[in-house]
Amino acid sequence: MISMNNVCFSYRQKRRNRDILVDLSMQFAPGKVYAIYGPSGVGKTTCLSVLGGLDTPTKGSIEIDGTDIKTIGYSQLRKQFVSFVFQDYHLFPYMTAIENVVVAASIANKSKGHEAKEQATALLSSLGLDSDTIRRPISQISGGQQQRTAIARALIKNPTYILADEPTGNLDKENAQVIMGILVNLAHKQNKCIIIATHSDLVCAHADVTMKMEDGKLFVGGE
């Protein structure tokens, strides 16, 4: 379980402190899909960044199974426990789909060489990418295929927590449905905890828990 304990996050803007997260406490359990929604600029992405150790809270703490992520180490946290999926996919543009997935395994020291390649191929295949597609440069595959590659990259490390920032934001409805299906499956069948920051009603409809972010706080909308 990943939990936020009285987390505050603020930054200085025009000589004033701008509070983004205010005394936020929330727990996210594996096996569920969480959707955080709210207007732009409300702090959804910041919330994911803080959870993933990309930003440090000004107050409070983040814990994974009772251990502060500072103790785990931010780099180790991202190698072992947490993966990101972005709206713009953020894949290495000069690599193929399979190379993008394998590189994540190599950085996380999960697997190397032939083993990593086999795992990546299996993962990409399970996400619906054929062997021809995975060997094409990223720039030559569609947005939906890129997002599936990004999900495969997130999964190759076998993390418990996947933080997805608008994962369907650049996709058409059909592809968005497919991606959401994959994420829900991951949560329900592989016991992953999927936390999604979104504007999309479709995402919220697929989520197990929806949370509205307002004034730096999260309000649970229903389970």
Binding site: T45, S49, G52, L54, D55, S75, Q76, L77, R78, K79, Q80, F84, F86, D88, H90, L91, F92, P93, Y94, M95, E99, V102, V103, A104, A105, S106, I107, A108, K112, G113, A116, K117, R153, K157
Partner: protein, 429 residues
């Protein structure tokens, strides 16, 4: 995927950036090496001059009279003076022995047919730079004071079965008079003596056989010439170039009549003779160095920074995948270093080809460009300097400087990138 494979993908798949960095480093390396080549010629020229005539002054009487021994004694005690020597030499004909000439069949030597040997007469053989800089005594003693005696080369001695105690007979080719001199020492040449230079085909060429140098005292030469040599000149050796000015000042303060005595700075005079040529080359070297330094300091820095700007997204992705910041900096170091080292290594043979093929033509262009062609005096020293083989240590030094610029630029750019958070880097890319 191995670590090396990942770095290779960064280099090979980001072709535009890699090629631009490669080409810039390659071109700068060429400029740096050619600049070092020119600088090397000037340095060699000065080194050859010093190797031949040392840091020396010549004090001579304009009226041809002998310099009093007390004046020489006084000069010997000036601070910075290594010693004083009176020198003379002439080509003489061997009578009871034959000159030794290197075997030209091994293609190392190209010596004019000559059976003459050169007799050096000194008041102090140890100060004679032909001996001091190129030879070492292996047996016997040096000629000293008024003793009659000669030292000869090991090869010459071996060829004629000569040893200490034997006598050689030499003939004055002008008067036909002969003189018998006992051998008191044997020396060995440790480097090619002064009358040698690098041939255009890379071999050592000699003006005379390197084994034909005989050293004796002034009285011995006087006996051969059957006349006294007026000791109207003395060579004063200083310990370095700077000391010559102090010695000159001290000699001028001795109160010698300027009408009777003239003082000549042999070192500066000789270097000065080649000044127009060496100055032209030196200027070219300075211009190329400045261009290399300017371009590497600004353009190379800029290109590396631009190269790194393309890494914003990579950096953000690597951070989100769990890579540590110092590991990312190290990755970039390896990548820029690999491209640069490859460019630097490739520039070495290319430069070697350019310098070997067009080096002299470049020098000619420099002389023409500086308008000095007609006024240049390209003496033996300059000829030897122009034919010097490449000194790779100097070139490697200039290449290392370029690598340092690349490393500095990579470090600056990496630190600049890594101070941003991934979200900002994604937005910036």
């Amino acid at each position: 995927m191995t670590y090396a494979h990942r770095l290779w993908l960064m280099i090979a798949r980001r072709t535009r950036h890699s090629v631009s960095l490669f080409l810039l480093v390659f071109c700068l390396s060429l400029l740096g090496i050619i600049s070092s080549y020119f600088g090397n010629i000037v340095a060699c020229y000065q080194r050859f001059v010093v190797s031949d005539i040392g840091y020396s002054l010549k004090l001579y009487r304009t009226d041809g009279n002998a310099i009093p021994p007390n004046v020489i004694q006084q000069i010997s005690h000036i601070k910075g003076v290594i010693g004083c020597n009176q020198e003379a030499n002439m080509l003489v004909q061997p009578v009871n022995f034959a000159n030794a000439i290197p075997d030209s069949e091994d293609n190392l030597f190209d010596i004019p047919e000559s059976d003459m040997v050169r007799l050096y007469a000194d008041s102090n053989t140890a100060l004679n730079l032909s001996f001091a800089n190129h030879m070492e005594l292996v047996e016997g003693m040096l000629p000293a004071d008024n003793d009659a005696g000669v030292i000869i080369d090991t090869v010459l001695a071996a060829k004629n079965n000569l040893g200490i105690g034997n006598e050689i007979v030499i003939k004055n080719p002008e008067t036909g008079s002969e003189l018998s001199i006992p051998i008191i020492g044997i020396y060995k040449a440790v480097s090619p003596p002064q009358e040698s230079w690098w041939g255009t085909s890379g071999n050592i060429e000699y003006g005379q056989s390197p084994y034909s140098y005989l050293f004796c005292t002034i009285p011995t030469l006087e006996a051969l010439l059957e006349k006294d040599l007026p000791s109207s000149a003395v060579i004063v050796y200083g310990k370095d170039r700077k000391s010559l000015d102090n010695i000159s000042d001290a000699i001028e303060q001795m109160g010698l009549s300027p009408q009777d005595y003239q003082l000549l700075n042999r070192t500066e005079n000789q270097i000065g003779r080649g000044t127009s040529a060496s100055r032209a080359i030196s200027s070219a070297s300075a211009v190329l160095s400045s261009v290399t330094i300017f371009v590497s300091a600004f353009v190379l820095l800029l290109v590396v920074v631009l190269w790194m700007r393309a890494c914003y997204k990579d950096t953000a992705i690597l951070i989100t995948l769990g890579a540590k910041r110092h590991e990312i900096v190290f990755d970039y170091f390896l990548v820029t270093s690999a491209i640069s080292v490859f460019a630097l290594l490739l520039s070495l043979p290319v430069c070697s080809l350019i310098i070997n093929g067009y080096g002299n033509r470049m020098i000619e262009h420099i002389f023409v460009a500086t308008g000095n062609l007609s006024g240049l005096e390209i003496d033996n020293y300059m000829t030897a300097a122009l034919n010097q083989p490449l000194e790779w240590t100097a070139y490697l030094k200039s290449q290392f400087m370029l690598l340092l610029v690349v490393w500095a630029a990579t470090l600056i750019a990496s630190v600049n990138i890594l101070k941003n958070k991934p979200a900002k880097l994604f937005n910036m890319s």
